[in-house]
Amino acid sequence: MKTYRIILVENDEDEQFFMREAFEASGRFEVLAQASNGDELVTWLREHPGQLPDLILSDLNMPGMNGMELLHALRADARYAALPVVITSTSSTQSIIDRALAAGASWYRVKPETFISYGPFAETLYQELQARLAVG
């Protein structure tokens, strides 16, 4: 079974912790790196030129470079323009989802109700990823 290399971008330490636990426990993902905002992600990518992730999962609302700015920064850079970026947020507001997609999000996932429920979230994301990449 194929595992996908993923980078998690999330400012909340607790959330970060539970996300990582769930993604690794799923056996579907390899957590390549963790960043607390877009600035840290960009820095990591710059510092690890040979290690592109298969997927970036990013929160929207973060201090410093937030999810929207992260999308703008990656889509403006040829090296990362095609990189799948999934935006996740507590908001299910359509206008916010639309804005994220318009900014270049590959797709948008509402965060699970509590951060202890990231297991099923990781599983669903995997299924979607497979379907999309198979098509793509």
Partner: protein, 633 residues
Amino acid sequence: MNPSHLLQHMPEAVLQLDADGFIGYANPMATTLTGYPPQELLNGSRVLLYAGPEDSIRAEYEFGIAARTGQYTSEGWRLRKDGSRFWGELLISALRNDDGSTSAFTVLLRDTSARKEAEVELRKSEERFRIMVEGVSEYGIFLLDTTGHILTWNDGAARIKGYSPSEIIGKHFSTFYTTEDLQDGKPAREIRIAAETGKYEEEGWRVRKNGSVFWANIVITALLNEQNKLVGFSKVTRDLTDRRFNEETLRQSEERYRSLVEQVIDYGIFLMDEKGRIVSWNEGARRISGYGPDEIIGKYFSIFYPEEDLLNGKPAHELKVARAEGKYEEEGWRLRKDGSRFWASVLITAVFNNDGTLIGFSKVTRDLTERKESERALRDSFERYRRLAEELKLTNRELVEANGELEQFTSIVSHDLQEPIRSIKGFLQLIEMKLTEGATADLGTYIRKSIGAADRMRELIQNLLQYAQLGKSELAPQPVDLNALLNESLQNLREVIERSKAQITIENEVDSVPGDRVQLGQLIQNLLSNALKFTETEFPKIRIRIRRAGDEAHFSVSDNGIGISQGDLLKVFEIFRRLHTNKPYPGTGIGLAICKKIVDRHGGRIWPESEPGKGTTFHFTLNEAIQEKILTP
């Protein structure tokens, strides 16, 4: 009385002559008439009744006719015995024998000198008159009989009408009339009027021989004899064509002009004398001003001017300008008859005669009220729409702002307020799981984290309420003592300042500014806290400066902190926007958003200047927009 006595007393000479012409009898009147005594008359020759012996040939001729025809009347000069002559009428009657031969002559001799003289005089006078009449070439003068047939024809008539006397005498005078006049029965009417009233006079078209018409002045005079019986008419005709042509042209041109002017309804056109009295009035003037010609002619044109113009002597001034420069032109208020005003376009033109003397003025007035009003209505409506558009723009901006704030609020509720709840719920679920498993090791940590999240939530909610409160009510600016305000702010932050060992300097050259005291205090405290928070050095140095810049105060708060990168300068005022992760720089990201809102509310601007690593200066001004608002409400 016997017949002999009768003959003796006859007032006329009666004589009897024998067949050979010798006088056999003569009454006393014959002696009286001829001067010959009876003894010379008796047996005297008939030549005594003529003009001398050499007239015997005529006597023989006349008596011969009388002998043949029975009677002969001779008129002619007779010679008296004394040699004087008289005009005598001699009536010769022949008396016949049974065989028809002449037996004798009776002669009646009558002195008709007086009548003859009158006749001669008349003939002379008539002759002179005839010559005169015939010689007149300017007038056609001719006589008509009672039915209107032409009896005489002079040179003038020939010249004017083109007929020679032989062509026209005997013809009816209606020959000279146009077809229309003939159909109208005009010739008959004219002579009837002349017969009844003695005279008919007119000017009218008449026809020449060649068919062309001429404008004639004619006088037909009835000719009555001593018994007042109509014996005919004289007719005098004058050709007025030239005069007529000039007059007609002038009249037509004047008529055309006059009717043109009179019928113009959109313009008031009238003439004034040199003093400004109205002498003519057209329909347009009536419609515009409401005065009829009868009311206005003779009045001074100043009647149209409002009182202030009269006090300023405007009417006289206008005439003066028109006189000096030829015309005067303006737009202004004028009065109608009913006292209402109208906006008039006025042109006064000086009118001079051929000698260059001013004889008056023409004035053309147009009522522009309607045009002006529609212009004003257009302008008003344009202004109304512009105002409406402005209001719409403003409303739109407010809506966009409100919409932006609503979206901000949506974002805040869905992220910032959601996150602590997720944390709390997550930890509670964890605690539940751990309790189920019977594990208690990490429970304290989870509970602390939950409390932390709840605290963050409360802080967010309080800040949000504070922020929302700022926009709630209208700002009521009061003079705010800045020195007192600064002291108060420093006092409020005293604990933080002392803990950070910050060095704060104040340079203030402004005593007070208009504003909301509470909000301005909050503004300064937020900026100070911000400066204190983002200072990594051991000794934060903060400088507050307030300088006068024109009418406004310019505030600045500088620190020697970490600074803000160029790309982030504009983000600092976004609500709940944090440029840094929580750990080193805790906060909700609302402080500068509140500052921005307060400055906005005070009609000012706020902007940061920064060099990363060296420090940041926040500048702000107050009341720029408010002052503008006060100046142009």
